[in-house]
Amino acid sequence: MGITQILFWFLSIAAIFSALMVISSKNPVHSVLWLIVTFFSISGHYIVLNAQFLAIVNVIVYAGAIMVLFLFVIMLMNLNKESEPQKHKWLRIAGAVAGGCLLLVFVAALKDTDIKHQQALVNTGNIGLIKNLGKELFTTYVVPFEISSILFLSAMVGAVVIGKKE
């Protein structure tokens, strides 16, 4: 068992455990902090897969910008454990059973696929480096790139218009 396997299992267990803590924490601030742990372990998976650009972008955009936004909104609303709305016990059990059934169906459908003997290349391969991705982004995908800037502009205008007091 090499260092790659050990890293894979460690990061997988960390990701799944912290994702479970996200949905089971009573306090919304704890949920946000556990979600940051999940994002860091997914970034670790990207590094294991040698997708370094995506690992850095994931840390900067998700763990940096988006989660800070979530934390600010939660602190602005002064949410805590006492004001946290709870669903009825049977509804929660029904939701967990429904999600578990979906997982069961997916696993049953995908465990005997043709691609199960394929390997994902770890530690090597330079397609995830910024040189290759940047070249592709600014040649083949330059139109979607520019359109996404318009999307950002409209999202910014929309957020300001919605958030403005009457």
């Binding site: 996200v22 949905i23 994002f39 029904a94 770890v122």
Partner: protein, 112 residues
Amino acid sequence: MPINYYIFLSLALFCIGIVGVLTRRNAIIIFMCIELMLNAVNLLLVAFSKMHHNVALLAGDAATTAGTDGQLFVFFIMVVAAAEVSVGLAIIVMMYRNIHSVDVNFLNRLKH
């Protein structure tokens, strides 16, 4: 790593996100579970891109760039997710200002 492991890891994260959406009533937590599902899909896309690259390498093409598309799709998913979060949190703040709660059960009758 076998691609199977990545498929099952992503499925587990995706289903945890779905369970979170189904079992919580706080709008912000539901939103965070949607982010979790997006990240599960991103992880699967990166794993498949590396698998595709491996297949092209095994076919004998040493200078191949197969699999770059998958990682660029992940980049665009992150772009869209960032825009979605900014608008969604603005909507949640507006909802809190109007009904002084983030409980989604107060939004069940499409008026006021």
